[in-house]
Amino acid sequence: MTFLRTAWLVLRKDFAIEVRSWEILTTTLFFASSCVLVFAFAFVKEGRAVEDAAAGILWIAIAFSGTLALGRTFERERYGETLRALLLAPAPRPALYVGKLLGMLALLGIAEALLVPMVAFLFQAALFSRPLLLAGLLAGGTIGFAAVGTLFAAMLVRARSRDVLLPILLYPITIPVIIAGVRGTAALLAEIPDEATATMWIGILVAFDTVFVTLALWTFEPLMTE
């Protein structure tokens, strides 16, 4: 009970901070859309997008803006050393991780709500033909990415050169998640949407999410002790 309550408190606190300025949300959304545009310049040839580009661009934009948001979120906890204050609370420490993770998921969910229509519109991608499967892919991929990202961003708070170390650690470990997301989405975008393939990738994502979240909950406590 304390566990869920603590996670909820941390989530609500982050939300209360965010509504004061909407800083992280607006910058993340803007960055995500810039990503899409930058990649559009690279992958649109003679007015048409390269095959499978839409799926790749969608997921790269999610990963890049996610990294940016992670850095900013934990910078907030570093300023005033509030992360230490959280760690000093008698609540189980993994609950803090879960709270932070939920916040990241909410943020990335909003970013995806912008990115998906944008990619669909700019690349004539039929992203909405199988909405449930797409939602499954997005959820699975986002949880996997954010689970690793939140743990690493939290542990890098007290490391030197954390800005550059976060992407260095995060991308190699989360590439399998991105592969699953991109291939699953690409399967949905084929002439005839390939539901079987998409479902299989969702299954793989669920397996990844389970491994990542379990490992993160397990290692959070020893990682946070200096």
Binding site: V148, L151, F152, M155, L156, R158, A159, R160, S161, V164, L165, I168, L169, Y171, P172, I173, I175, P176, I179, A180, R183, A187, T197, M200, W201, I204, A207, F208, V211, F212, L215, T219, P222, L223, E226
Partner: protein, 218 residues
Amino acid sequence: MRKAFGPLVVVGAALFVAAPYFIAQAPYESTMGLIQKIMYYHVPSWIAQYCAITVCGVASAIYLFKSHPVADRYAVSAAELVVLFGLMGLITGPLWARKAWGVWWQWDVRLTSALLMELIFVAYLLVRQYGGPGSEKLASATALFGTATGPFVYKSVDIWRTVHPKTTVVPTLPSSLGAPLALTSAAFVLLFVVLLTLRVNLAERQAALDEMYLALED
């Protein structure tokens, strides 16, 4: 391990000396000819890398939960060897591929997942190098995640690959090719053990030096 070190070096070296003879003796593989002999160095370097990954993952987990400095020494030594053997595999692979497949690089499952593993363990070394004090713990989390997700990485890349056109697959090997391969594999594993021992010894000396500095301050 220390006591067995001398014999290990001798046996390992003997295997390496014997290897060229057996490799030369082995018949040519029917479709690829001479170039296939890269296999005798290529495959064993992956086997050695898997050994290194296992050692690094286990040692990192022990260090993370027990904070035992010896475990950390094994973890960092094994991580360097993961990168070393990975590099051997990643260089010999394309050389083989250039001749056998006609291209340097294929997004083959083994190549891709090997590249990812290499990246993860380079990241491990980078964190230790630039993370500042306390980065050993952070690095051990990296190794733990890298090791634990290894099989999944392989699986996901495998499926990713099979969705795409297939490439030449190395056929199952007859025993005339297998015997030298077993020999070089054993040689590489021994090379790994020898290098690991030397590197751990270095880590111990470094720790002893740190200890001396600390004693000086006391």
